[in-house]
Symmetry: C2
Subunit: 281 residues, 2 copies
């Protein structure tokens, strides 16, 4: 008998397994160096970032369904930050082989220039998924989209107060963000590896996007520090199976205490949010 | 008598001085490691990138009006690439104090998260200007826009074949890229530090954008390897003073030879293009 086993690590499969286990929370390791508590600090910027992240991962791993790292907080420290990012992802992969890691890098360049970013984010940092800007179109993003094993979350309706400046512009009776959702669904998602970034701060828009997005996963920032409503978000964001979304929270978890008990409090806050998501399902 | 001298380094002032000297060419240090000729290679990735860049800068400095570094080609090499980027910018600033350095990083996140990118690009790497995506709106980009000394080029009409997927969507009788141009002019440019990225591959669109963009500088990719027409580009892109634009070319200069004479050929190609731009003015 010939048994075939898929050996690749597939982002969507990892995500589905987390959802099956009731895990919808993405813990954001937006590790702003200036906010790292004294008790997590060691000699060196890189070492402090990694030390803090490891403590947060260990405190939240029981309830996290993924980890999301925003590259801005690491790039601020140049090559040391870059190395801290890489070591953190390596730690998560090593400790938690089934845990998806999302690099919130918000990249996008034209054509082959993206090869450099693909090499940086997917190969060198070994992220399972990234976030990208849609403005240049799907043709430009081909280097990101072509790998079926890696997830690509396209910015659709973002969580910031000024998101509507262009995203709400109506064209052909539909706002721009709906065009983005439909184009990603119809044109970009041939490898079934696309998702959409949809802010929790706009639940009505989220409902409209879910109505056209089929089963594409949503990456949802805006719960926690930004004030999005959890119940409305879950009701608006879930797919026909009651799954299909990842709720990202960072500051409200990792800097909830700011004191010596930062890891313990982060674990408690993450557990609380995970339980609240499950209750809202 | 009290004499007041402005000590800050201001991107727009640097650019104006280059234009006054007839220099409109931005040499793109998109230094794809795999294409660096054998004669520029030394031990180490970082050292090779810097060695190649220094040779190109020295060969083109007489005609370059700015240098543009696309971060993707450096990030592909992780912390080594980051250090190479930093050392290259330091070299240019040290050798050519009046030369503007543009970091083509195509960043944009929400609100304070951009502080990390501002720190990375403006402070750590000490770039004079960056490129950003418009999709999140001007409110999100405040950390980039608030420094009057640093330039911010907003992607408007990009040079890639699929640029029109969203950029051409009509809203209120105008395509999205015209909304971007007008919003940047009216809302984002309070510190007179904004510019627009407009591809040479779309001269008709460029003409429409120039008609509403007042004296905002254009950063124009697409001449050279991408096939944009130089005369049409200059005619469409120049402002009312016959200035106001930067034509960026990379591959067609830095990899024109690919052999031992790469620097000599790069110098000749840059001089040729600079002369052609002046002839088209």
């Amino acid at each position: 008998m010939l048994v075939c086993i898929r050996m690749e690590r597939n982002f969507r499969d990892l995500l589905e397994a987390q959802w099956d286990a009731g895990k919808f929370l993405s813990v954001g390791l937006d590790s702003d160096f200036s906010k790292i508590p004294a008790s997590a600090r060691v000699e060196g910027v890189r070492e402090t970032l990694v030390n803090f992240n490891v403590a947060i991962v260990n405190a939240t791993r029981a309830v996290a369904g993924s980890y999301k790292l925003n590259s801005a907080f690491y790039e601020a420290h140049g090559e040391l930050g870059w190395t801290a990012l890489q070591e953190t992802v390596e730690y998560i992969h090593g400790e938690l082989p089934d845990m998806p890691v999302i690099l919130d890098a918000k990249r996008a360049d034209i054509g082959n220039t993206n090869d450099g970013y693909v090499q940086a984010l997917f190969e060198r940092l070994n992220a399972d998924a990234v976030t990208v800007h849609p403005y240049l179109g799907g043709e430009a993003l081909a280097p990101f989209l072509k790998n079926p094993e890696k997830g690509v979350f396209v910015l659709c309706r973002t969580s910031n107060p000024g998101a509507g400046e262009f995203q709400d512009l109506e064209s052909g009776g539909k706002p721009l963000y709906m065009h983005v959702a439909e184009r990603v669904r119809d044109g970009w998602n041939a490898n079934k590896n696309c998702g959409l970034v949809v802010g929790a701060t706009y639940p009505e828009e989220m409902k409209k996007i879910r109505a056209v997005a089929d089963d594409m996963p949503f990456l949802i920032p805006g719960i926690g520090a930004q004030g999005g409503d959890l119940e409305k978000t879950v009701a608006s964001g879930r797919d026909s199976r009651g799954k299909g979304f990842v709720i990202a929270a960072s500051r409200a978890i990792i800097f909830a205490s700011g004191g010596d008990d930062f890891a313990e409090v982060a674990g408690a806050k993450a557990a609380e949010l995970s339980t609240a998501i499950q209750a809202a399902l």
